[in-house]
Amino acid sequence: MKIAYYPGCSLHASSAFYDVQTQMVAKRLGVELVELEDWNCCGATSACKTDNFLSIALPARNIGIADASGLDELVIPCSSCYSRTLVSQKVLADNSDLRDTINSELTKKVSGRIRVLSIIELILKQLNSKDFSEKLKYKLEGFKPACYYGCLLTRFPYDIKIEDNVENPQGMDIICKKLGAEPVDWNYKTDCCGASATVNDADVALRLMSKIMKDAIARGANCIVATCPLCQFNLDAYQDMVGEKYGIQRRLPVYFITEFIGLALGISDKDLQIDRHLIDASGLLKEIKQV
């Protein structure tokens, strides 16, 4: 099965290992990811805050490339890219004038045929096949993750319907259970980590992350699992700072969901580049058992 793939800028820079993991995991699951040719930055939240037109037009160029690819689905692992692409698609479906204006500037026009998937949706599609269970070599016993969805997987600034529950999403929890992990029930699943505020408004970001960390720890989690590269980056890179400021002693490794699946499929931690975490993520790996 071939699916179009939009890595986005983070997966080609600070979260390059997430790109590596996504490609490896997809391959093992029999999904061929076809990277969009000559894709561009989606503009992320910064475009919304500075320029309405660009916030729709930048993702539109990628949508045009995906629509012209002949493929039916496009997977976007980064939550921000995923959200902005879905929003652009929705706005252009509702506003034909804007669609015409943007299309007149594009070589590959937006037609609206591609279906956008998050990484969770892509994995859930594979999960129930018999094949998937047979491919699982290891059980993530002893992993008690706090599944962290963040803002942009479920909440949108436009009327966009998703299959999961908006306030208490389950997709990542379902995947974790299938892999033998025991996700904890907690309160901060869809709360904000502060996103770029870690750089430009640190007081806000550190406080928001302190709430996430405190609740995850209080609920008995021994790790966090995320899909958004910025959520992962913030909770991983700034966790010491949060801990020092808010008197939190414990540190939790912050995994990508692709690391969980990769490990369960028998991909080595070396190949998954799990050594790129700032908060050591190797301790829990001893818990993994053969199926």
Binding site: C9, H12, A13, S14, S15, A16, D38, W39, N40, C41, G43, A44, T45, S46, A47, C48, K49, T50, D51, N52, F53, L54, A57, L58, R61, T101, I102, E105, L106, T107, C151, L152, T154, R155, F156, P157, Y158, D159, V166, E167, D191, C192, G194, A195, S196, A197, V199, N200, D201, D203, V204, R207, L208, F233, A237, D275, R276, H277, L278
Partner: protein, 202 residues
């Protein structure tokens, strides 16, 4: 939390209300002040203003207050307020609109760091077609330093910020999470065309 009484100024309310409703695409008149947005807003402690208050200021024509409050800048665009609003008002779209209006009116950003960050981000995304994290941090750092010096924080404040970034940068470098190079879109002229169009439409 702001407790100032909001005064109704009918002669001012119509133009600003219309402008913001049009630009943000939000129907502010449907707000009945239930404050579900306020209950969910993660930055209200730091901003001192909740989404319902901001909406009320605009409806009552308090343009200066609406443009000059920290919610406009510290809103993290988490969309919690909009998700929970029974009338589907997305306050994040309103804060985005106010940021853009403030820039257009050449008002000094209440939080220059936040303004500089987003401008630096878009500049890098447009210059190369793809964001270069290095580019972003350099441009942002430069803008930030200029502002810090202008407002009288002096080199001490600039150096303190750079020290913090350098410490984190080194930790990231050790884990191979720093990317020095930048990627460029091949068809960069298409990105430039979109950027030009954006300027025309402003």
């Amino acid at each position: 939390m702001s407790s100032a009484t909001v005064k109704f100024q009918p002669e001012y309310s119509q133009p600003i209300l219309q402008e913001i409703m049009e630009k943000s695409g939000q129907n502010l008149l449907s707000c009945y002040q239930c404050r579900r947005c306020a209950a969910g807003c993660p930055v209200s402690d730091e901003a001192g203003v909740t989404p319902d208050r901001l909406i009320r200021m605009i409806v009552f024509g308090q343009k200066d207050e609406a443009l000059n409050n920290l919610l406009v800048w510290r809103c993290v665009a988490c969309y919690t307020c909009g998700e929970r609003c029974p009338n589907n008002i997305q306050t994040a779209k309103i804060t985005e609109t106010l940021k853009q209006m403030s820039k257009k009116a050449h008002l000094e950003a209440l939080s220059p760091k936040i303004a500089s960050f987003h401008e630096a981000f878009i500049k890098s995304a447009i210059d190369n077609g793809r964001l270069s994290e290095m580019d972003l941090m350099m441009t942002y750092g430069k803008k930030n330093a200029q502002h810090e010096l202008k407002k009288g924080g002096g080199w001490k404040a600039v150096i303190a910020e750079l020290k913090g970034q350098a410490k984190l940068g080194l930790a990231l470098y050790k884990k191979k999470r720093v990317h020095l190079g930048s990627e460029k879109v091949k068809n960069l002229s298409e990105i430039k065309k979109l950027s030009k169009k954006a300027e025309e439409l402003k």
